[in-house]
């Protein structure tokens, strides 16, 4: 597997400009001859599909929900970063770049991150022009807030629904192109395989979720914008349908998978309450701007909140990290919550929660001001837990949330398969080992609006792309494989439900590859997962038939892929003998319990090559060169 990052030469600030000039253009009158298949319609997919159609390409876009507006980008709450420096507090492209590289614990590619910081400002201009109703000040200008570990206010937001508003903006741009006939939108349709012809990605096989019909689609390039895989943990903040299938099928067809074990555990989620639970609900980390995190000083303290005097409360983030306090990055906040719970100081029935307390903010600002900032979040919390955060502190606990890992891509966002481009959360490129708050929306839209539309043109203009029809033998073979897999799933006719397997897989992953990881735990997971997979294929029960809407069958196919993919996540975590960002190997910690990086041996992207089900994938490395940033120990003290 060749890993050429194709990072342009020259000074960091000039790389993207130089590269844009060096790239070949497709003649405007030829663009309509190219057909691009965009899989996924979230921020990255919708913005890419719309932008490519505006340029004149023929675009077909696929979503598994009933409308592109349902993609899980819609649920992002807190905001989107941009280096506008509107508040005049010292922000710049360089600072956003530096914060992102540092926040990612020096495991991301400098050139990609710098480009992200460069185009970030354009995204805000674009969204405002589309009519996205960001929060504003009385003077009519845009409002900014500080978010998730940043010391400048660079986050733009629309109450607690920034993802919704940005997605509806991209959706409106996409709708305009669908209405104009430039994009063909295919809803309720799920990717089942990627088709390669002469080594190039030339199409996909899909399943229509209403009729069950398999269908082949050919094109000149394929774009995966299929999101993240946090549902490998079963319980996560992701939507129920989020899955790894598209990325994993691409991996099986030869695409390298980068840093799969880099999975972000978000610190502020509503804790687990029972076995029936289907997902974990995120509470925006903007709450940490005014909420104070604490647990009782004494282990096993079961007193009510009101009975615990101030002197017996441990505001552990403020105590350990005086300069950042409650605003430390997500990985640090999550790890510390786990540590205090491991010490027996967790709160609530399960002991797996910490308090997030607004008492002081309400006293300082008044109830109305707090309601104006967080009203919708308090409302949601109240609905779910039947407790009012105005009266009693929230209980929160970390939950799997975001995948920094993903398919490996070069500077042009192309995977190791020529023609297969990967954008948004589905790729690995920008966040290193830990993503900063409000940077996911930024990256999804940067890729879709301002990076891919340029780089894909260069691919189309330089690649040799003879016409390929879906009657080609590669399509027929892929369709047959997919059909066989569905027949096999239905044919097992065992005793256990799909969800029972998913739940067990999630438990294995959370216990052994979650917040704290050890070689012993990971080896145990690597023994348990293949056994669970065997049991799945011997004893799963999927009712119904291939034809027609069959929701258990959809889930079975996704869980079958998670059962293979999970092993790679554990191999990756086991191989990385250091702690960095979200990846905490218990064996590698400083005496104070902080993450201990090993830059000498692990300053690289781990890229895995598929070798067969149950076979250990082959490990490749893309070395990371830091020419502009000095590697340092992240300190938020």
């Amino acid at each position: 597997m060749q890993l050429d990052s194709k990072v342009p030469s020259g000074p960091l600030q000039d790389k993207w400009d130089n590269h844009r000039f060096a790239m070949k253009l497709v003649n405007p009158s030829n663009k309509r001859k190219y057909n691009i298949l965009v899989v996924g319609s979230g921020l990255a997919g919708a913005s890419a599909a719309a932008s490519l159609a505006e340029l004149g390409y023929k675009v077909t876009c696929f979503a598994f929900q009933d409308s592109p507006r349902r993609a899980h980008s819609i649920a992002a709450q807190g905001g989107i970063n941009a280096s506008k420096n509107y508040p005049n507090d010292g922000d710049s492209v360089w600072r956003l770049f530096y914060d992102t590289v540092k926040g990612g614990d020096f495991r991301s590619r400098e050139a990609n991150v710098y480009r992200l910081a460069q185009v970030s400002a354009n995204i805000i201009d674009q969204a405002v022009a589309q009519g996205v109703p960001f929060a504003r000040e009385y003077g009519g200008l845009l409002s900014n807030r500080s978010f998730g570990g940043a010391q400048v206010s660079r986050t733009f937001y629309a109450q607690g629904a920034t993802g919704q508003q940005l997605l509806l903006g991209a959706y409106s741009a996409l709708n305009r192109q669908i209405g104009a006939g430039a994009v063909k939108m295919v809803n309720r349709c799920e990717l089942q395989d990627i088709v390669l012809v002469d080594g190039q990605a030339r199409g996909i096989v899909t399943r229509d979720l209403i009729t069950g019909k398999l269908e082949s689609w050919s094109g000149d390039a394929v774009v995966l914008a299929t999101g993240g895989y946090a549902n490998v943990f079963f319980l996560s903040t992701n939507a129920m349908g989020c899955n790894v299938t598209a990325a994993y099928k691409a991996h099986k067809r030869g695409a390298g998978f980068a840093n799969p074990s880099f999975t972000q555990i978000h610190p502020t989620c509503i804790p687990v309450s029972g076995d029936y639970q289907s997902k974990l609900t995120l509470m925006s980390e903007s709450l940490r701007n005014d909420g104070r995190v604490w647990v009782p000083k004494k282990a096993g303290d079961a007193r009510k909140v009101a009975d615990i005097p101030e002197s017996e409360r441990d505001y552990f983030l403020e105590r350990k990290y005086p300069s950042f306090g409650n605003l430390v990055p997500r990985d640090v906040a999550s790890r510390n919550a786990k540590m205090v719970c491991d010490e027996g100081r967790g709160v609530g029935e399960s002991g797996l929660a910490v308090y997030l307390d607004f008492r002081d903010a309400i006293q300082r600002l008044g109830k109305d001001a707090v309601a104006a900032r967080y009203g919708n979040l308090f409302h949601m919390y109240h609905k779910i837990t039947a407790e009012d955060p105005f009266e009693t502190p929230m209980r929160i606990y970390p939950a799997p949330h975001y995948a920094m890992g993903g398919l490996w891509v070069d500077y042009n966002l192309m995977s190791t398969i020529p023609g297969l481009h990967v954008i948004g959360e589905a790729n690995f490129s920008d966040h290193g080992a830990n993503r900063l708050g409000a940077s996911a929306l930024m990256q999804g839209l940067a890729d879709g609006y301002f990076v891919l539309p340029y780089t894909i043109g260069n691919y189309l203009a330089t690649a040799s792309l003879p016409k390929v029809e879906t009657t080609h033998a590669s399509f027929q073979a892929a369709e047959r494989e997919v059909a066989d897999r569905f027949s096999k799933l239905l044919g097992v006719n065992g005793k256990q439900t799909v969800d029972s397997f998913h739940r067990r897989l999630g438990r294995i992953m959370w216990d052994n590859c979650g917040l704290g990881r050890t070689a012993e735990g990971l080896q145990s997971a690597l023994e348990q997962i293949p056994k669970l997979r065997e049991e799945f294929w011997a004893d799963v029960r999927v009712p119904g038939t291939e034809a027609g809407l069959n929701q258990p069958l959809e889930r079975a196919a996704r869980v079958a892929d998670f059962l293979e993919f999970a092993e790679m996540v554990c191999w990756d975590a086991l191989e990385r003998e250091e702690s960095c960002g979200c990846h905490l190997r218990e064996e590698h910690r400083t005496p104070e319990g902080e993450a201990l990086r090993n830059d000498k041996d692990y300053s690289h992207v781990s890229v895995w090559e598929y070798k067969g089900v149950g076979e250990k994938p082959v490990h490749h490395k893309e070395p990371l060169a830091f020419e502009n940033v000095k590697l340092s120990t992240r300190s938020y003290k």
């Binding site: 507006r69 349902r70 899980h72 022009a129 960001f134 200008l141 845009l142 305009r176 029972g274 029936y276």
Partner: protein, 249 residues
């Protein structure tokens, strides 16, 4: 809690459907409504029976996928809440619960509780956008927008496109849905150039899809999980009339 469920079962769009009764045992009051259905469905699956099909995804009340009429009310008895955010503590032990799909000519049932809402997308495609391409847009702070206007635009933009407004309306009108998008853009300077055109095009598509006309029942506002005000329909009517009378197009 033990409950009796009466659920609409329908094989596909061309088959007739009917209410079927099931017992749900040992329901935990902290479950969400959809988690209660998950447990019932998992029971069916382990017996090899086909589970109750229903749409859902984010389970945070924002994707707009879930779409159940519960005891005659779209999204159920709790106001300002989607079905996925409704919790079983709102019900009592021994209750009977009737669960049906959205019912409207323009939302055909695909299976059980799953309906086809593609008509909503087609209305948005007809004009629910500002005609601006990627790139070349002015600096975001070039045009100040009064905070009140931006806040109002947000309140209308909060629509999740679930279709509860249609399911609640005796005329199966989607005027609240159309009005929310038209009213969002009506507050903003970016929305002005196409204001009339947008209202006319979206209403034209709304009518072509077979949604009914608004006759001021205000059922839509009562069930809207995002509490969108019927003021949206007033703004839509005004923009539509103005467009129809004065537009040069």
């Amino acid at each position: 809690m033990n409950l009796t469920l009466h659920v609409w079962r329908q094989k596909d769009a061309s088959s007739p459907g009917r209410m079927v009764t099931y017992e749900a045992r040992d329901v935990n009051p902290d479950m969400s409504f959809l988690e209660m259905l998950d447990v019932v469905n998992e029971g069916f699956e382990s017996e090899g029976k086909e589970p109750i099909a229903f749409d859902h995804d984010c389970r945070e009340g924002v994707c707009g996928m879930c779409s159940l009429v519960i005891n005659g009310i779209p999204h159920g008895p709790d106001s300002g809440t989607t079905a996925c955010q409704l919790h079983m503590r709102k019900f009592r032990d021994g209750d009977s619960i009737w669960i049906e799909p959205w019912r409207a000519h323009a939302f055909p049932v695909l299976r059980d509780l799953v309906v086809d809402r593609a008509a909503f997308d087609r209305i948005q495609q007809a004009g629910g956008y500002v005609s601006v391409g990627t790139g070349g847009t002015p600096d975001a702070n070039q045009t100040p927008i009064p905070k009140r206007a931006a806040d109002m635009a947000f309140d209308f933009a909060a629509c999740i496109g679930c279709g509860a407004c249609v399911a609640a309306c005796p005329n199966a009108s989607a005027m609240l849905f159309v009005g929310a998008k038209v009213s969002q853009f009506a507050q903003l300077p970016q929305g002005q150039p196409e204001r009339s055109r947008r209202a006319l095009a979206m209403v034209r598509q709304h009518d072509a899809e077979g949604f009914g006309f608004c006759s001021n029942h205000r059922e839509c506002e009562a069930v809207c999980p995002k509490n969108i005000s019927v003021e949206a329909i007033a703004i839509l009517n005004r923009d539509y009339l103005k467009g129809a009378l004065l537009s040069e197009e």
